[in-house]
């Protein structure tokens, strides 16, 4: 769990009385509000970062509930109208033998969002606490969450593309269901939640931890 390069005590910018710009990575004296180099706001730590994380996280979670209850797609053909929820649609696809597509939808729409909720909650909870997970691992988790979050929108894109393409008037039409909006919001909220998380907090107090450990 310990990497070789980090065996020495780490000096953070905050401990050095400096603040780093997240845009141009230049360090300025503590108290600087705007980066003189690039003009970005500089903060030593995002204010109320954890609150924003939790707020977005909660909003995303709330949105995720209707996203799974309400139908995602409304398929209207000449004969009848069919509406499918996310999981129901995946099950239908699997039942029709399209296991690959079912798996993709299931991963993109269920596994990834749920994984994000869990990951963000884990990261937020681990801040300021002694964690068995190394800061490096947690930082990696944050990277993954930030990177992969946008791919959850694949389901929303599918719905958007289908509903714009399949508009054959009377014969067949696909309409986005109310769940698609909720799901999109849920994805957006979790992305914002992940973004609100200041990964620098992972490293705060690492000296203490190390000191405590060592």
């Amino acid at each position: 769990m310990e990497r070789v390069g980090f065996t020495d005590p780490v000096l953070t910018a905050r401990d050095a009385g400096l603040v780093g710009c997240r845009s141009c990575a230049r360090a300025w004296p503590m108290g600087t509000e705007v980066c003189p180099n690039c003009g970005a706001r500089v903060q030593s730590r995002s204010r109320r970062s954890l609150q924003r994380v939790w707020a977005w996280w909660l909003a995303g979670l709330i949105c995720y509930v209707p996203a799974n209850i309400y139908p995602m797609l409304e398929t209207r053909t000449l004969v009848h109208t069919e509406s499918a929820t996310i999981v129901g649609g995946a099950v239908d696809l699997a039942a029709h033998g399209a296991y690959g597509i079912a798996l993709i939808i299931l991963v993109a729409s269920v596994v990834i969002p749920v994984g994000k909720f869990v990951s963000i909650a884990f990261l937020a909870l681990s801040v300021g606490r002694i964690s068995r997970t190394s800061p490096e691992a947690r930082h990696g988790v944050h990277e993954i969450v930030e990177y992969i979050g946008r791919w959850s929108m694949i389901d929303v894109f599918v719905v958007a593309i289908l509903s714009s393409l399949v508009q054959l008037n009377a014969v067949a039409a696909i309409q986005p269901g109310p769940a698609s909006l909720a799901f999109a919001l849920s994805v957006i909220f979790t992305m914002l939640s992940a973004q609100a998380f200041d990964p620098r907090m992972i490293w705060d107090g690492i000296e203490d931890q190390k000191a405590g450990h060592l």
Binding site: R48, Q51, R52, A55, W56, I62, V65, T81, F189
Partner: protein
């Protein structure tokens, strides 16, 4: 200094709450609010569930089949189950909340399916989308009713379609077909519902609706008639094919016209007759009015064929209605026997009587009063030709007291009386009986017998011998007259006279003054008498050839008369003629005449063979005997002639009735004239013989 310390922690705490709370928390709160709001709204928007019972749920699927009101979805079938006894299908329909209060007890539900009929295709959209449930209810929210029973077919008019609801009674020949349009000048203004039987079971009727605003056209003077099918007529204007529309040609249709103005506007539930065609509909306006009909029942004891529905009902000769139904009725308790009674329902139009309604509140009262005074119904012959009957109401003065049975079911019963129909039938029957009783067969037999007898008579050898005998007699008489002895007779007589002169001279000489002149005078008288007798014989003999000719003619004509025509002769004439010919006298006449003539012949032969007159006295005596025989024989002649004359008279009488110009008649008349002439000849012959029997012998 002592003031500050308590203030600082308070401010710090308060400030820290606001300061530490991020604005971002508004997002999950808003999200939560929206989510809760949506949840609450969707819950509160959920309408109630109603259950509709169908006999079958063909094509109904939960979650898809919708309930529509005016073609707008207002509900969804959530579940399809059975009633407890599995007799019906229960569809649970989630209603929209906004219309739930309107779905009250009066709501109607039915399944809309694609339907192809002569009037078009309906519900075509359901072919692809599947069936849906159509509901209709009024505009008054009366509270939700949970259980409903579905209709088996769509109702006549949706709940909101306003219009005049009437009842059409089909008259014979008019057809009511469900869903048929009611047209007015080619515009569909109404519709006919499902036909059924009227309550009294007498005729077919159907509810119909005339939509607004056309309902104002319908008044009490409106007549409806059937326009289904087509009419084809050929007249002076050429052939004409007439039908209203192709749809009504196949599916039936009804049209109407308000024929005269001034009718009262029709109210809901008004009854109208549906006539078979326009002509009858128009005619009916002047025959019947739409005044409420008065129905009476009459039970006839006799059961006659010939009384039909629609037969007129007349009161004192005024047609006041018609027979609306006829039924046989066997009711042993009521009538005391198990005979069939004719239960006739009369539909009367009291307005025909122009009753003064101030006197009679109810037209029925008028009949009650009249029945008290002896009014009775009876069957009477409407036309003799067809045997059709009518119902007549007449006053029977001495009728047994009988009151109107007001408790009759379904209508009051008017007492009946003996029908007049029996008299007419008796008369007709009597005519036929008399025709039947005519002895045609006997007449033919008599005619045949008569003809046989006539043939026998004419063909009898005796009859045939008569002319021969008569001719022989004449020949003999001629022979006698021309015989030398006879020729010589005057000579002998003169010789005798000479001898007598000699004797006279002797006598004169002897007796001198004896009255010789007296003898001569006597002799002269005798000779005169003999001469007269000879003249009589000559006269009578002169008629004989004529008689023979006549008899020949008669027989010829008799032979030429067609037997078939003869059959038509009256039997009385033939019978008497037969009696005449078969009578023994007639049969014996030729024989007797022949015998007499034979005797005369014998006498003459004897006279001739006797050479010169052996003795004039003997001869005269013999001739006298012969004459007596002739007389005896001829004695029957007058009666024969009389009977022939009688026959002729009767025959003439009979023939007088026949066609004057017919050949037969002419021939018969000629024959009769001949027979008459023959009779006259017989008569004159007999008369002459009677007068001077010896003239035959004397030849003068």
């Amino acid at each position: 200094m002592s003031d500050q310390p308590p203030e600082i922690p308070v401010r710090t705490v308060r400030a820290s709450i606001f300061e530490r709370a991020s604005v971002v928390w508004l997002v999950p709160m808003a999200t939560l609010l929206v989510a809760l709001g949506v949840a609450w709204q969707s819950y509160s928007d959920r309408g109630p569930v109603i259950e509709i019972a169908f006999s079958s749920a063909a094509g109904m699927s939960p979650g898809e089949t919708v309930l529509r009101y005016r073609d707008v979805d207002v509900g969804l079938v959530e579940d399809v189950s059975f009633t407890d006894d599995l007799s019906q299908v229960l569809a649970s329909v989630r209603l929209e909340k906004s219309i739930a209060d309107f779905v009250d007890e009066g709501s109607k539900f039915w399944i809309v399916r694609p339907e192809v009929s002569a009037r078009g295709v309906s519900g075509l959209d359901t072919v692809l989308s599947g069936i849906y449930i159509e509901g209709t209810w009024d505009s008054v929210p009366d509270g939700l009713a949970v259980r409903h029973a579905a209709l088996s077919e769509p109702p006549l008019a949706a709940g909101d379609e306003q219009g005049l609801r009437i009842v059409l009674n089909a008259s014979p020949g008019a057809a009511l077909s469900e869903g048929a349009p009611i047209l007015y000048k080619g515009i569909e203004v109404g519709r006919i519902g499902k036909p059924g039987l009227s309550e009294d079971g007498v005729n077919a009727q159907a509810n119909a609706i005339i939509f607004e605003p056309y309902d104002r056209i319908v008044t009490s003077a409106t007549r409806f008639w059937d326009t289904s099918g087509f009419t084809f007529s050929i007249g002076a204007g050429g052939a004409e094919l007439d039908f209203t529309s192709l749809a009504s040609l196949i599916g039936g249709g009804v049209t109407f016209e308000t024929i005269v103005s001034g009718g009262r506007p029709a109210a809901d539930g008004a009854q109208f007759g549906l006539f078979a065609d326009e002509g009858r509909a128009r005619a009916s306006l002047f025959e019947t009015s739409d005044e409420t009909e008065l129905n009476l029942t009459v039970v006839f004891r006799e059961n006659f064929s010939g009384l039909v529905v629609g037969a007129p009902v007349e009161l004192d000769g005024v047609r006041i209605g018609e027979v609306s139904s006829i039924r046989g009725l066997v009711d042993e308790d009521r009538f005391g026997d198990d005979g069939v009674r004719l239960l006739t329902t009369l539909a009367l139009v009291p307005s025909r009587l122009s009753l003064d309604l101030s006197t009679f509140d109810d037209p029925l009262d008028y009949f009650v009063q009249r029945v008290d005074a002896g009014l009775r119904a009876r069957l009477a012959t409407a036309t003799i030709l067809t045997g059709g009957l009518k119902v007549e109401m007449i006053d029977v003065p001495d009728a047994p007291i009988e009151l109107m049975d007001m408790a009759g079911d379904p209508y009051p019963i008017l007492p009946s009386t003996q029908s007049e129909i029996s008299d007419v039938s008796a008369t007709a029957e009597g005519v036929f009986q008399r025709i039947n009783a005519l002895p045609i067969e006997e007449l033919l037999v008599s005619a045949i017998a008569f003809l046989d007898a006539a043939e026998n008579l004419v063909g009898a050898e005796d009859t045939r011998a008569v002319p021969g005998d008569v001719r022989g007699l004449i020949g003999d008489v001629r022979g006698l007259v021309s015989a030398p002895a006879m020729q010589g007779l005057p000579g002998e007589v003169s010789a005798l006279v000479g001898e007598l002169q000699g004797v006279a001279e002797d006598m004169r000489a002897v007796t001198a003054a004896l009255d010789e002149a007296d003898l001569v005078a006597r002799l002269q008288g005798a000779i005169d008498a003999a001469a007269a007798a000879a003249t009589g014989v000559e006269t009578s003999v002169a008629g004989v050839p004529e008689l023979v000719t006549s008899v020949t003619n008669l027989s010829d004509r008799a032979a030429s008369i067609p037997l078939e025509d003869m059959i038509e002769q009256a039997s009385a004439t033939l019978a008497s003629a037969e009696a005449l010919f078969v009578s023994e006298d007639t049969q014996a006449l030729p024989g007797a005449l022949g015998t007499a003539l034979g005797e005369v012949e014998a006498a003459l032969r004897e006279l001739r063979e006797g050479g010169a007159v052996r003795s004039l006295n003997q001869t005269l005596a013999s001739a006298e005997t012969a004459a007596a025989a002739v007389e005896t024989a001829v004695a029957g002649l007058p009666s024969l002639a009389a009977r022939i004359e009688e026959l002729v008279a009767q025959a003439e009488e009979t023939l007088a009735g026949l066609d004057q110009n017919s050949d037969f008649s002419r021939e018969a008349r000629a024959a009769l004239r001949d027979v008459s002439d023959a009779a006259k000849a017989f008569e004159s012959l007999s008369r002459a013989l009677e007068r001077r029997p010896n003239s035959v012998i004397l030849g003068r």
